[in-house]
């Protein structure tokens, strides 16, 4: 039975009730859609619905917490989820839906875990394939595919999957660009991802550049940030790559298809610099000892 709306012209309270009803704006525009004492049921397993105030507090806390301790990957994850809505994660989902491969990914909803990605099989692939590069990178950095947190704070199940997919394919971005998991490498990848996916968390995490040493910061602004911005903008959307099907593709072919150039090998540069510094220090020590021996 259709609910009959009573006309506002009933008694002296018309102006107050009309005023209250006028304030009840549509859901996207309201400040609070539910009370914390009366949370709506979860939309998927592990979902935690948050009010706007709670989301803001989560964003602020995660931002400062991850700045103090960049190894807190769970804080970086919650910062990403708290700042992705209302516009950015929807834009990314629309970008996936506009692309035929992206649509297939959203339909199949594949997950990357150590069960679905067999590392033994990946290691025996030919050297120049994506799968081999991924396995080599995992071994070099000493990480596994299981270190990714579950998405909890995004309401729409499909948008939550998009966030989860972005997180799980972050390692593939590392693998095809060759950047390591140290802070400098992570910041370069985050800058690339901001230019490519436009998620706010990637831009906010660039604030961690204050934690770099002076030489590292110089290297970042001179080399890696320009590389990240220009490549992220001109490359195809990396989130649309169906990695499970690209494991046996040649890495150069994939990079050419996506439009990504390889940045200078960060570990190599650091190793060379470290060796040079060590040699300089040894030479200086020797000179000092010599000088002391000669009584100068």
């Amino acid at each position: 039975m259709r609910k009959r709306t009573r006309p506002a012209v009933m008694n002296g309270q018309i102006s107050q009730r009309t005023f209250q009803r006028l304030l009840a704006l549509p859901p996207p525009l309201r400040l609070r859609t539910f009370s914390i004492l009366n949370r709506p049921p979860p939309n998927y397993a592990g979902h935690v619905p948050l009010t706007l105030v709670e989301r803001g507090a989560l964003a602020l806390g995660s931002a400062f917490g991850s700045l103090r301790n960049p190894h807190r990957h769970d804080l970086i994850a919650s910062l990403g989820e708290a700042t992705a809505k209302p516009y950015f994660i929807s834009r990314l989902r629309k970008a996936m839906l506009a692309n035929p491969t992206g649509r297939r990914i959203l339909r199949d909803k594949p997950r990357i875990t150590s069960q679905t990605m067999s590392l033994e099989w990946l290691r025996q692939l030919p050297d120049n394939t994506v799968g081999r590069a991924y396995a080599a990178w995992l071994d070099r950095e000493g990480v596994t595919p299981d270190t990714r947190d579950q998405v909890r704070y995004i309401d729409d199940p499909e948008e939550a999957y998009v966030m989860q997919r972005y997180r799980e394919t972050h390692d593939f971005t590392h693998a095809i660009t060759g950047l390591p998991v140290i802070i400098e490498g992570e910041l370069a990848v985050k800058a690339f991802e901001f230019a490519n996916t436009l998620l706010p968390m990637t831009a906010l995490s660039l604030v961690a550049v204050v934690r770099l040493k002076a030489a590292e910061r110089k290297r970042f602004f001179e080399t890696y940030l320009p590389w990240a911005v220009s490549n992220g903008l001109k490359a195809e959307e990396v989130v649309n790559v169906y990695w499970e099907e690209e494991l046996e593709t040649d890495v150069e072919v994939l990079r050419a298809r996506l439009g990504i150039e390889v940045p200078p090998d960060l570990r190599e540069i650091r190793k060379v610099l470290r060796d040079k510094n060590k040699a300089d220090m040894a030479a200086r020590d020797a000179k000092n000892r010599l000088g002391a021996g000669m009584g100068v």
């Binding site: 506002a8 012209v9 009803r21 996207p28 525009l29 506009a98 035929p100």
Partner: protein, 520 residues
């Protein structure tokens, strides 16, 4: 000397005989003289037929010599007897149009079982989901303020309330154009039979093509007519001189071109796709039906109810989407229409884009599971479309045109010849019927006061009555289509907030419904 005496005697005859003598004297002067009529209406669509019926039913104008010219065979404009199939050319008739059709006596000849009145309208925004619900049943409530107003002696609030309560037609009535046309034709035949004892002075010239319209020749002698200011219509059957030439001949009106009346406007870069659909829904016992309209960024899609479990679709969309829709198979078309009401706008655009690889039916099943109904704003009791009627999918380009003036010397324009409007408000035919009613009233006034029906004394009243009102409706509809053409940004926020506010202001909504219903 003798001719002036004859003329004076002729002038003392009663009008009927005088005119017949006059015109027979005119034709006697040779076959080169065109046949003279008082009113010639070019165009036998619903608007032209209703105009001629109004002239013939009104006692003041029923004695005018009237001709109706149409290139089609009007006797075939009948609806099928099959209750399972409905034509895809349907129109929504407002209560004012119905009142006019009843007044001229045509509505009783219409097949009522093929017309569907509807009592509610659900309109929602395809991007933000904000919705507005119009309900003619709710509008008839009385509140304390109305009761007090009625008790005041001499108050006319009851009279003004009665405006909206027009015999339970609800918001409007959906009727096939063929149904309306055949009802009007039957009324004209009925009027002819009533007046068959008089000289038959209505000529329906069907299957007659208009070859050209020119101004007539000057008088060659004393007894020939000076037709240099009269429009002469050259048809495949002969030449006709018109005291008043009425153009009801559609958007590319030859009468308007003859009169050199400019008709500025623009094309909407949209095509309107129409079809007849089968629905799956529970019909209530009182048969209260609802019309639905969703505003997508590519254009509005509307579902208008027809008798039984059927509906008429009007979907204004880009020409590329319209072309793709016409190539789809019937199940795919049904899935696309369901998607148009239930999925997000970018999903619909992807489904109809040329690089989509999966069929619309698969896409709909998957995307519907991933689209929460609350975010798209689809009403809870929205029916599911089960199939589309064979051969009923068609499309036409949409444009807006408004003639600078509706009248000229011995020229008047009514209907689509005068104005073309976007179909999103269902006002096109209703404005045309209101034009026909107004012009017929002005001609009756002119005849009663002894005016020449083709002169500006008669016709200026029609122009001043209708032009401004039509301009307002066309303007509002055009701005609505432009506001709802935005897919994102502050305009979306602004229009959603406006719709939500309007949904809660019952009196303003009631006024809007009254204005759209066209009651005077």
């Amino acid at each position: 000397m003798a001719s002036t005496a004859l003329l004076r005697r002729l002038l003392t005859l009663p009008p009927l005989l005088r005119r017949s003598v006059y015109s027979s004297a005119a034709t006697h002067n040779g076959a080169s003289q065109p046949d003279t009529y008082d009113v010639v209406c070019i165009g036998g669509g619903p608007v032209g037929l209703s105009f001629v019926s109004a002239l013939r039913s009104h006692p003041s104008t029923s004695a005018l010599r009237v001709a109706l010219i149409d290139s089609q065979d009007l006797s075939t404009a009948r609806t099928t007897k099959d209750t399972e199939t409905y034509s895809n050319r349907c129109s929504s008739l407002t209560p004012a149009s119905l009142r006019f059709l009843k007044q001229i006596g045509a509505w009783e000849h219409a097949k009522r079982e093929r017309a569907q009145p509807y009592h509610a309208m659900d309109v929602w925004d395809g991007v933000s989901g904000s919705k507005i619900h119009f309900d003619s049943v709710d509008q008839q409530q009385t509140g304390l303020l109305d009761a007090v107003a009625e008790m005041i002696p001499g108050s006319r609030s009851q009279a003004s309330r009665r405006k909206y309560e027009v015999e339970d037609v609800g918001v409007a009535t959906m009727c096939e154009n063929a149904n309306t046309t055949s009802a009007l034709l039957q009324r004209l035949h009925e009027l002819d039979e009533e007046r068959s004892k008089d000289r038959l002075i209505f000529d329906m010239l069907e299957k007659t093509r208009v070859e050209s319209i020119d101004l007539g020749p000057e008088s060659k002698g004393e007894e020939s007519l000076d037709l240099s200011q009269w429009p002469i219509v050259t048809t495949s059957h002969g030449r006709i001189a018109a005291r008043l030439l009425v153009g009801a001949d559609g958007a590319n009106s030859p009468v308007r071109q003859f009169a050199d009346i400019p008709s500025p406007g623009w094309d909407y870069n949209q095509h309107g796709v129409v079809a007849t659909l089968d629905l799956d829904q529970q019909i209530t016992a009182q048969n209260l039906r609802t019309a639905y309209q969703r505003f997508l960024p590519t254009g509005p899609v509307a579902l208008l109810p027809l008798p039984g479990n059927k509906a008429s679709l009007v979907w204004s969309t880009t020409p590329q989407h319209a072309a793709k829709l016409k190539t789809l198979s019937r199940p795919d078309f049904t899935a696309a229409v369901n998607a148009a009401f239930r999925l997000m706008p970018f999903d619909i655009s992807y489904m109809l884009s040329p690089n989509s690889t999966t069929s619309p039916t698969d896409e709909l099943t998957w995307r519907e599971s991933a689209t929460p109904a609350a975010s798209t704003g689809v009403p809870r009791n929205f029916p599911r479309i089960t199939s589309v009627q064979e051969g009923s999918i068609a499309s036409f380009p949409l444009r807006m045109r408004h003639a600078d003036t509706y009248t000229g010397h011995r020229i008047a324009l009514i209907g689509d010849a005068a104005h073309t409007i976007h179909p999103l408000a269902g006002q096109g035919l209703n404005l045309g019927l209101a034009d026909a009613e107004s012009l017929a009233q002005r001609i009756a006034y002119g005849v009663d006061h002894g005016m020449d029906v083709g002169s500006c004394w008669t016709l200026d009243g029609y122009n001043s009555d209708r032009w401004a009102k039509n301009n307002a409706v066309i303007g509002v509809v055009d701005k609505l289509s432009k506001i709802y053409g935005f897919g994102s940004g502050p305009v979306v926020w602004g229009r959603s907030a406006g719709v939500e506010v309007l949904e809660r202001l019952g009196t303003l909504k009631g006024w809007m419904m009254g204005a759209a219903a066209g009651v005077k």
